[in-house]
C-alpha cells in the first residue's frame, strides 16, 4: 500500500495541473480590498568626451533630503498638504521678476571638488521608457569629472505659514559621484547625459503604470524652469503645456498641478503609455500624500486613499489624476489590474501608489 501512495499522489498532481487551465481567468477576485503599486526612478549617467562614451553607470542621483517632499508638494498637491508644503507649492518654477538664473543647469566638478563647468540643460528628450537630460561643455583645462550635479534655478519660496519671506534658493536636485574620475583634456567637448527611466516594483509589470504624461511631468518637476516645459495629454484628449514658470514670486506656476485625485474605473481597460484617462471612471477621491526622506539618498512619495462605493464594483483600473492650473486634468500614473477586483458596496478599497526616488530592482 505504501508503494502506491507516491503513484496516487503523482496522478492527483497531474490531474490538478490538467484541470488548472480550466479555471475561469477573468472571474473577479474577491476579498482583495487593496491595490499597491510602486514606481522606481531608474537611470544611467553617460559621459561622452569628444563623441566617445567614456563612462556609463547606474545613477544614484537624488541626494537632497527634501527631494521627496518637493515631489509630493509640487506634483501631487492636495488641499491639506498646504499645512506642511505651502511654501513649496509656491516653488513651482522661477518667476518672471527673478534676477537670478532662469534655467536648470548642470555642474561638473573635479576630484578636488572644484566646479569647472556649468551649462544650461538642453530640453528633455523623451523616450519610450523615460527621458534624457543632457548638457554640453568645453573643458577649460586638463581636468576630470568626479561629480555631476543638476540644479534647479533660483526661486523664491515662502518660509512661514501666513507671512511671506522671499528667499532665494538654489536647489540641488541631482548629484552623482563617478566610480572613477573621467579624465578630460583641455579643449575637449564633453556631453553628459542622464537617461531617466521608470520601472515598477512588480516584476511582471516593469514599464507599465507609467504614462508618457508622467515622463513629461517628472521632467518639468526636475527642471522646474523654462527649459522644462513639456506638453501632456489631458483627459479630454487635448494637449496641455505644463509650464512651471510663474508671473511673480508670490503666484503659482502658470500651468502646474494644483489638485490630485485617485481615480478608480471599471472599464474595459488596456494599459498603454499613451493612455490619458481611465476607460470608465466609477469613483474618485483626493488622496493622502506622504513623503519619506529617510534614509538619503532615497526617499519616496506615497499617494494613498481608501474609497468606499455605494454599489458593487468590479475594479479593473486605478489611476492618479492631477488638475492643472488651467482646469484640465492629466492622468500621470495608470495601473490596469491583471484581473478585476470585486468590491462590494460599503467595502473599503485601498489604492496606494508609491514613487521611489531610488533605483529599484
Amino acid at each position: 500500500m505504501k508503494r502506491l501512495l507516491p503513484i496516487v499522489g503523482a496522478l492527483l498532481l497531474m490531474a490538478m495541473l490538467l484541470l488548472a487551465p480550466l479555471r475561469p481567468t477573468q472571474a473577479p477576485r474577491s476579498a482583495q480590498p487593496k491595490v499597491k503599486v510602486g514606481v522606481f526612478v531608474e537611470g544611467r549617467i553617460l559621459i561622452y568626451v569628444d563623441g566617445e562614451l567614456r563612462y556609463s553607470e547606474r545613477m544614484h542621483s537624488f541626494v537632497w533630503e527634501y527631494t521627496a517632499l518637493e515631489l509630493a508638494a509640487r506634483v501631487f498637491p492636495v488641499p491639506w498638504t498646504k499645512e506642511w508644503a505651502h511654501r513649496l507649492l509656491m516653488a513651482w518654477g522661477v518667476s518672471d521678476d527673478s534676477q537670478g538664473l532662469r534655467a536648470a543647469t548642470m555642474t561638473l566638478k573635479d576630484t578636488g571638488g572644484s566646479a569647472w563647468g556649468s551649462a544650461v540643460l538642453d530640453p528633455p528628450t523623451f523616450t519610450d521608457t523615460g527621458f534624457s537630460v543632457s548638457a554640453s561643455f568645453t573643458a577649460p583645462r586638463d581636468t576630470n569629472i568626479s561629480v555631476v550635479e543638476i540644479y534647479q534655478p533660483d526661486t523664491y519660496v515662502e518660509f512661514t505659514n501666513g507671512t511671506a519671506y522671499p528667499y532665494v534658493t538654489h536647489d540641488l536636485m541631482v548629484r552623482d559621484f563617478m566610480g572613477s574620475p573621467v579624465p578630460v583634456a583641455s579643449g575637449s567637448s564633453v556631453t553628459v547625459v542622464y537617461d531617466f527611466a521608470f520601472t515598477s516594483d512588480q516584476p511582471e509589470l516593469r514599464y507599465e503604470i507609467f504614462t508618457y504624461n508622467w515622463y513629461r511631468m517628472f521632467a518639468a518637476w526636475l527642471y522646474n524652469a523654462e527649459n522644462g516645459k513639456a506638453y501632456v495629454t489631458a483627459t479630454d484628449g487635448s494637449q496641455a503645456l505644463v509650464d512651471p514658470t510663474r508671473p511673480t514670486w508670490d503666484s503659482v506656476g502658470r500651468n502646474v498641478p494644483i489638485d490630485t485625485f485617485i481615480v478608480v474605473g471599471d472599464g474595459q481597460a488596456v494599459f498603454s503609455k499613451s493612455a490619458y484617462r481611465v476607460a470608465r471612471e466609477v469613483a474618485r477621491a483626493r488622496p493622502e500624500v506622504f513623503y519619506d526622506t529617510h534614509p538619503p539618498p532615497a526617499g519616496s512619495v506615497v499617494v494613498s486613499r481608501a474609497l468606499v462605493f455605494d454599489r458593487d464594483v468590479n475594479v479593473t483600473e486605478v489611476a492618479v489624476y492631477v488638475k492643472l492650473t488651467d482646469g484640465r486634468e492629466v492622468m500621470l500614473l495608470y495601473y490596469v489590474l491583471d484581473e478585476p477586483v470585486a468590491v462590494r458596496a460599503g467595502q473599503p478599497f485601498v489604492v496606494t501608489f508609491r514613487v521611489y526616488l531610488v533605483p529599484g530592482l
Binding site: 480590498p33 487593496k34 499597491k36 488641499p79 491639506w80 498646504k82 499645512e83 505659514n161 477621491a285 483626493r286 488622496p287 493622502e288 506622504f290 513623503y291 519619506d292 529617510h294 534614509p295 506615497v302 494613498s304 486613499r305 481608501a306 474609497l307 468606499v308 462605493f309 455605494d310 458596496a345 460599503g346 467595502q347 473599503p348 478599497f349 485601498v350 496606494t352
Partner: protein, 362 residues
C-alpha cells in the same frame, strides 16, 4: 381610550409584546401622568429603535474587536445638532464649548487614531463622506491614512516597538471658549473622543507602509434616519472646512451646511403632520405640518428628543420629524417617521413624540 401616542422612533418589538400584559399598569400610569398610551407600530415593517453602530477597518480588514461611542461625545453632539432654548447656552466641562468650528484653523483637520497609551499616531480623516443608502439604514464611511513616517525611523524601530499600535481612538476637535475667566478669553482647542476601540487590532502595520483607517457608522432603522441627518452628522464629525456639505432644505433648495460659518443649527423642532406621507431617505419635509415644538433633549445613555403636543381640535397624525433651523434661516429635516397607521388625537389630549437613538457605549 386615550388616543394620544408616543412614537419611540419605532418602538422595540419587545415592548409591543409586553404591551398587553402591562396594559393596566401603563394605563394607570398614563392617566396619573396625563401622558400618552404607547402605540406600537404593527406589522412586518416594525423595526427596532434607531441605532448608530460603528466599526473600524484597518487596511480594508474589519477589526473583530468592537468599537464603542464615547459617552462624552453625546452631549456635544446633542448640543450641536439639536440646540433649543433650554440647552443652547449649556455649560459643559466648565466652559462654553463652541460647538462648531467657526474659526479657520489648519490644525483642526487632525483627527486622532491613537496607538499605545505611551505613543500616539495620528491619521487625518478626509472628505468626501462615502454613503451607502438602503432600506435598512445608511452606512457612512470616513477614511484616513496613517503616515508611514509616523512609525518609520531612520534609526530603525524595534519589532516590539512596531507592534505597539494596538488600539484606535477617533477624536473630534473642539473649540472651548473659557468664558468664565475674563482673563482667559482666548480659545482653547482640544479634542473629545467620539469612538473608542477596537482595543486590539487584527493586523499590525507593515514596515514603512501607509495604513488605511476606515470608520464606518451605520445608522440602522427602517425609517427615521435621512440622508440630511447623516450629512450633518458627518459635518459634526469633521467640524472643519472639510465638513462642509450640501443638504436639502425644507423648501427643496440646496444649502451649504458649514461648520466654519454660521449655517449651523440654531434651534431644533419636533414637527408633526397629517399629510399623505411615505418615508424616504431623501425626504426633506413632512407632507403637511400641523404643529411643532422645541424638544426636550436627553443624552444619558443615548440620545432622545421628545415633545408633548396638545391640540385644540381632533387631528389624525401620520408623520413626525425633527427639523433644525440653520443660522442662514433655512430649515432642514434631519429625522423623519411615518406612522404605519394614522393616529387619531383628540382635542386637549397630550400627544407625546419621542425620537430615541441608541448608541453603543462601552
Amino acid at each position: 381610550m386615550s388616543a394620544a401616542a408616543t412614537f419611540k422612533g419605532a418602538v422595540p418589538l419587545v415592548r409591543a409584546m409586553r404591551r398587553r400584559a402591562l396594559a393596566a399598569a401603563a394605563a394607570a400610569l398614563a392617566v396619573a401622568l396625563a401622558a400618552a398610551l404607547v402605540l406600537a407600530p404593527r406589522g412586518a415593517g416594525a423595526s427596532l429603535a434607531p441605532a448608530v453602530g460603528v466599526s473600524v477597518l484597518v487596511d480594508g480588514v474589519p477589526q473583530p474587536a468592537p468599537a464603542y461611542f464615547d459617552e462624552a461625545a453625546l452631549e456635544p453632539l446633542a448640543l450641536a445638532l439639536f440646540p433649543t432654548e433650554n440647552n443652547r447656552f449649556a455649560v459643559i466641562e466648565g466652559g462654553l464649548r463652541a460647538l462648531w468650528a467657526r474659526y479657520p484653523d489648519p490644525y483642526r483637520t487632525y483627527w486622532g487614531v491613537a496607538g499605545h497609551s505611551a505613543r500616539a499616531w495620528y491619521a487625518n480623516l478626509r472628505p468626501p463622506p462615502f454613503m451607502l443608502v438602503n432600506s435598512t439604514g445608511i452606512l457612512l464611511s470616513v477614511t484616513g491614512t496613517l503616515d508611514p513616517a509616523e512609525y518609520f525611523s531612520p534609526f530603525g524601530v524595534s519589532e516590539s516597538y512596531r507592534k505597539l499600535m494596538t488600539a484606535t481612538r477617533f477624536s473630534r476637535l473642539e473649540t472651548v471658549m473659557s468664558w468664565r475667566d475674563p482673563l482667559r478669553r482666548g480659545i482653547v482647542r482640544g479634542g473629545i473622543p467620539v469612538v473608542n476601540g477596537p482595543s486590539e487590532l487584527a493586523r499590525q502595520p507593515d514596515w514603512g507602509e501607509p495604513i488605511s483607517i476606515v470608520y464606518q457608522f451605520y445608522f440602522k432603522a427602517d425609517q427615521v434616519f435621512t440622508v440630511n441627518f447623516v450629512k450633518v452628522f458627518y459635518a459634526w464629525l469633521f467640524n472643519s472646512e472639510y465638513g462642509r456639505v450640501n443638504v436639502t432644505a425644507t423648501d427643496g433648495s440646496t444649502v451649504l451646511f458649514d461648520p466654519m460659518g454660521d449655517n449651523v443649527p440654531i434651534v431644533a423642532y419636533i414637527v408633526v403632520g397629517d399629510g399623505q406621507a411615505s418615508f424616504s431617505r431623501d425626504a426633506y419635509r413632512v407632507a403637511h405640518e400641523i404643529a411643532r415644538a422645541e424638544p426636550a433633549v436627553q443624552v444619558k445613555g443615548g440620545l432622545a428628543l421628545s415633545a408633548v403636543f396638545v391640540f385644540d381640535r381632533d387631528v389624525t397624525v401620520t408623520e413626525a420629524a425633527v427639523y433644525v433651523k440653520l443660522g442662514g434661516g433655512k430649515e432642514v429635516m434631519l429625522l423623519y417617521y411615518v406612522y404605519p397607521q394614522p393616529v387619531t388625537v383628540r382635542a386637549g389630549q397630550p400627544f407625546v413624540v419621542s425620537f430615541p437613538i441608541v448608541f453603543p457605549l462601552g
